[in-house]
């Protein structure tokens, strides 16, 4: 997606335009529904890769974060970030006009917006509401990424605050800057960088933003007891339910088509078909490359890495999916399949950070690669006028536009400094405050972690009847 609307020109009178708008509105709603279903995928991947004694806790954080983030975004997150986005052009002209206006900054330097709190007040119509539904689903994806990296040791009460914070403030910032019409999207104007910062469906806005929060949270929590041996070497703590994780991965693949393909916000823009295919191509190549690479590295086709490989391809293609050819989507998938494995190794072995599900590598690292991929592989055939720029099509370094790569690089820097910093500050402050209040911080009690969080935190075991080892 991009800030402001292209697509069908608003012509009230023309019934074909109106009908085209109806078709586009339906596509956006279907897209939103598919993305919302991804929550189930995350829940299963994260739960399957964790240990049975924490399974009820992990699946419940994934369940609750949907509602927590949603409420924060509904009340203030959407107004802050995307309320000034005029999508009427997609929906036939009669609905979807912007309801918001700048809150902080103006012109090409806007940082936050206002208007349409709790979807109330004037101008709220079916078009704006459809945009909200699609966008809240994206936000919830970001919100649920840290629940994986921080699993098995995160206090329920602390987690609840994260969910609200992510939906209300954390996610909206970068979303406002990229899609809401904020300063990053205007860098084509302010810094004459290509078409400005471009992220078609959210490798950056959604995945990297979630991935850096996952890293920040894991650092503040520290590794799970037993993850690193006395020698400092990471130890494998096998997930308790591989088929569950695999099902979750398939559900994510399924939902991702709504994530990427519906980001055209228009079925009247046939590029959505190319986007859908590129998404599948990157997923397939990512999964198989990871399967081969992990076999080369450790001798066997670890199912967990295969799954991560598919997700890596999906995350990486999310930003460039509309701007690259199918063959290039395959290349991006291959690179992501190798990158995700090496990233997992680096994070565990070098950074000594414990991420039970590989969320940092998948979303943070491959998301970053996806953002840069736009600046490298975009072939200029799509995206004329992107970000209301004068661009004739988004074009990457390899196709001659170094400026576009500059814009992408700028976005990456912002993500890993400003956004990571905000996430780290959030968790650190929350932890410090909790400790100073004698509440022991955001990490669960040692005894609870050892015996499993399910009974102490949730009051029920995930599997009260199955006899399990360890």
């Amino acid at each position: 997606m991009q800030s402001f609307s292209i697509g069908l020109a608003p012509m009230q009178a023309d019934p074909v335009v109106t009908l085209g708008g109806n078709l586009n509105l339906l596509w956006v709603i279907i897209g939103a529904v598919l993305v919302i279903f991804m929550q189930a995928g995350f829940a299963l991947v994260e739960t399957g890769f964790c240990r049975a004694k924490h399974a009820a806790h992990v699946v419940s954080t994934n369940f609750a974060v949907f509602g927590l983030g949603f409420i924060g975004f509904f009340l203030v997150g959407f107004p802050f970030s995307l309320s000034a986005w005029d999508v009427s052009g997609y929906f036939g002209g009669e609905i979807g006009a912007a309801v918001g206006s700048p809150l902080i900054g103006d012109g090409s330097w806007i940082f936050l917006f206002k208007g349409g709190w709790a979807l109330s007040g004037g101008g709220i119509d079916a078009g704006v509401i459809a945009l909200f539904l699609y966008m809240v689903a994206f936000m919830d994806t970001t919100a649920t990424i840290p629940t994986g990296a921080m699993a098995e040791r995160w206090k329920w009460g602390s987690f609840v605050i994260w969910g609200l914070f992510c939906g209300a403030i954390y996610y909206p910032l970068f979303a406002a800057w990229t899609w809401g019409g904020g300063w990053l999207s205007q860098t084509w104007d302010t810094m004459s960088l290509g078409a400005g910062y471009v992220d078609f469906a959210g490798s950056g806005v959604v995945h990297t933003v979630g991935g850096v929060a996952a890293l920040a949270g894991s650092i503040v929590l520290g590794p799970r007891i037993g993850k690193f041996g006395a020698d400092g070497k990471p130890r494998g703590l096998p997930g308790h339910h591989i088929p569950m994780a695999m099902l979750g991965t398939f559900i994510l693949l399924f939902g991702w088509f709504g994530f990427n393909a519906a980001s055209t916000l228009a079925a009247t823009d046939v590029q959505f078909a190319v986007v859908a295919a590129n998404t599948a191509i990157a997923a397939a190549f990512g999964a198989i490359t990871a399967m081969l690479w992990i076999t080369k590295r450790t001798g066997k086709p670890d199912p967990g890495m295969m799954a991560n490989g598919m997700l890596a391809g999906l995350v990486a293609i999310t930003a460039p999916c509309a701007f690259v050819s199918p063959a290039m989507a395959a290349v991006i998938g291959v690179i992501a399949g190798v990158l995700v494995i090496e990233a997992v190794f680096f994070i565990e072995r070098k950074l000594k950070v414990d991420d039970p599900v590989g969320a940092i590598a998948v979303h943070g690292v491959c998301g970053t690669f996806g953002v840069l991929a736009v600046g490298l592989f975009a072939n200029g055939s799509y995206g004329a006028g992107w970000n209301v720029s004068d661009s004739e099509g988004v074009e990457g370094l390899f196709w001659g536009d170094a400026g576009q790569f500059g814009a992408q690089l700028l976005g990456v820097v912002v993500l890993w400094t400003v956004i990571f910093g905000i996430a780290y500050a959030f968790f650190k402050i929350q932890d410090t405050v909790s400790k100073s209040r004698g509440k022991g911080g955001i990490r669960s009690k040692e005894a609870d972690e050892i015996n499993g969080l399910d009974i102490p935190e949730m009051g029920v075991l995930a599997y009260p009847e199955f006899v399990s080892q360890n």
Binding site: R235, G236, D302, F345, E348, Q469
Partner: protein, 112 residues
Amino acid sequence: MKLVTAIVKPFKLDDVKGALKTAGVAGMTVSEVRGFGRQGGHTETYRGSEYQIDFVPKVRIDIIVDDADAERVVDTIVGAAATDKIGDGKVWVTDVDRLVRIRTKEEGADAI
């Protein structure tokens, strides 16, 4: 009476049960256990990190027998459970003071 306890390879359970039936053993109690011994474990990698599998799945069989039958039962198990590969397991015998069949309150040999 004696309590004969055997640790055997899981896939051998059927053979052992069959042999015991033929040997006239009327009942037994089985449970899933994990064994550690010469057979040793092995190292695998999960998501790139190594982990130890120290224990091998085994099946434990407990059989109460009449003193007179103990030896025969042990030999039957040994015969049926052997694959002559490391990890075949053990059989041991302990002494039982008293035995009661819950349903009938019969005691001793009658309770077997």
